[in-house]
């Protein structure tokens, strides 16, 4: 492991992110990794050129995560991208493109997933 991460559960995410913001961290980005049976969401923050990482494991079955775009507005771009690529729904997204941020309606699959998820299906789940 080249870097240390702080492992979180879903309920802690907002409070931890808010705590980091109050400490003066700058939001760098988020990374989503498909581990096969679950997703890892890595949140990267910067303070004085040092990175801090939060890791949130999301099960394949429930793909709904609270959005942090209310805390860091900058997160909305990457959260929309992750919606497009992995089919994870972010709850409370400041500006929601509904999975068509990059992709046209013709694209039916979530391209970055190793397992296949149909878009129509997931839209039903999200509703």
């Amino acid at each position: 492991m080249a870097f240390e991460t702080m492992n979180l559960v879903k309920g802690q995410l907002s409070s931890e992110v808010l705590a980091l913001k109050n400490k003066g961290y700058r939001f760098v980005t988020m990374t989503c990794v498909d581990l096969g049976d679950s997703f890892d969401l890595l949140y990267h923050f910067d303070l004085d050129l040092k990175l801090t990482h939060l890791r949130l494991n999301v099960a394949k079955a429930d793909r709904v995560v609270p959005s942090i775009s209310g805390i860091y507005f900058a997160a909305l771009v990457i959260e929309n991208e992750t919606q497009d690529h992995f089919g994870i729904t972010f709850d409370g997204l400041a500006l929601d493109f509904g999975g068509h941020f990059y992709l046209e309606e013709e694209v039916k699959k979530f391209p970055f997933c190793k397992f296949t998820v149909n878009k129509a299906e997931s839209a039903g789940e999200g509703a």
């Binding site: 080249a2 990374t31 050129l49 900058a74 941020f101 990059y102 391209p111 970055f112």
Partner: protein, 357 residues
Amino acid sequence: MATIVPFGPQHPVLPEPLHLKLVLEDEIVKEALPTLGYVHRGLETLASIRDMDQMVQIVERVCGICSCIHAHTYCMCIEGLMGIEVPQRADFLRVIWSELHRMHSHLLWLGLLADAFGMESMFMHAWRIRERVMDVMEATAGNRVIISVNKIGGVRRDMSPEQLRWVLQVVDELETELDKIKAVLTNDYSVKKRTVGVGVLTYQQAYELGAAGPQLRGSGVAQDMRMTGYGAYKYIDFAPVVEKDGDSWARTMVRFRELYQSIDIVRQLIAKIPDGEIAAKVKGKPTGEIVCRSEQPRGELMYYVRATGDKYLDRVRIRTPTFANVPPLLAMLPGCEMADVPIIALSIDPCISCTER
């Protein structure tokens, strides 16, 4: 009554397709909504069908303007995972090429900005000067734009002492040419009229919206990834270029002063470059996770690589500077006049192919 005006995807000031939906009230922009995806190729997924050496060529084509820095950062990731010690000379050469890329990128941007406010002659001059840098790239690496010098473990090509001397000469010429442009840029009434006070981003906003690079430094935040001392930057003296005002003029001046800074860095590098090997041997496959950051012309670039010891990498994630600069752009546009939109959009130095990958 609000009017919606589309800006792009095909627009004279933008060399790349970016679409902004501008909600106007009279001449004042009330809201700006972006539509991205015109350049989205999905090249991060190519990691699953291209092995790690081939990926160097793929990541170079994330963005043609700063290709060398993309490849450098990607190689740093793999080298970090595998514990490869890169020869010192290779580090120096990588950074020399990176700084040349920064110069040509900033000159290119200066030209586009001049074109956006109708100063055709400065556009031509900036690009004429830039061609000197392109000549250096062509002579030393064999291609003008995508130079493909980086490989995992080092660099592919060496520069001979004659070439290094010639680079110094070109850099000197550049400095004289820049001095000539400087007088026009800094004293011109119309340049100031179009940029001063336009698109203001305060210190607080820039930091909270996660701006990167000249955008961040133009708002007074002294952050430059080169300060982390990756590559050969640890052997070099430099201080980040910072401007306080946070408007388009401040960002222009940050980039313009960075041109002089790059010239200085190249001189220091060439004075200190050691002799020796230019590439280390690479054996085996990487495992683990790593995050590497570097400074592109447009700001902070971040790579995340996850490998499982397989032939192919598990995940490559690229966070490019323009990606971080989109939220600040959306924050700057409301309240400005319609006629200022092109200048503000250009002042973040948008690189859409970076953003969408």
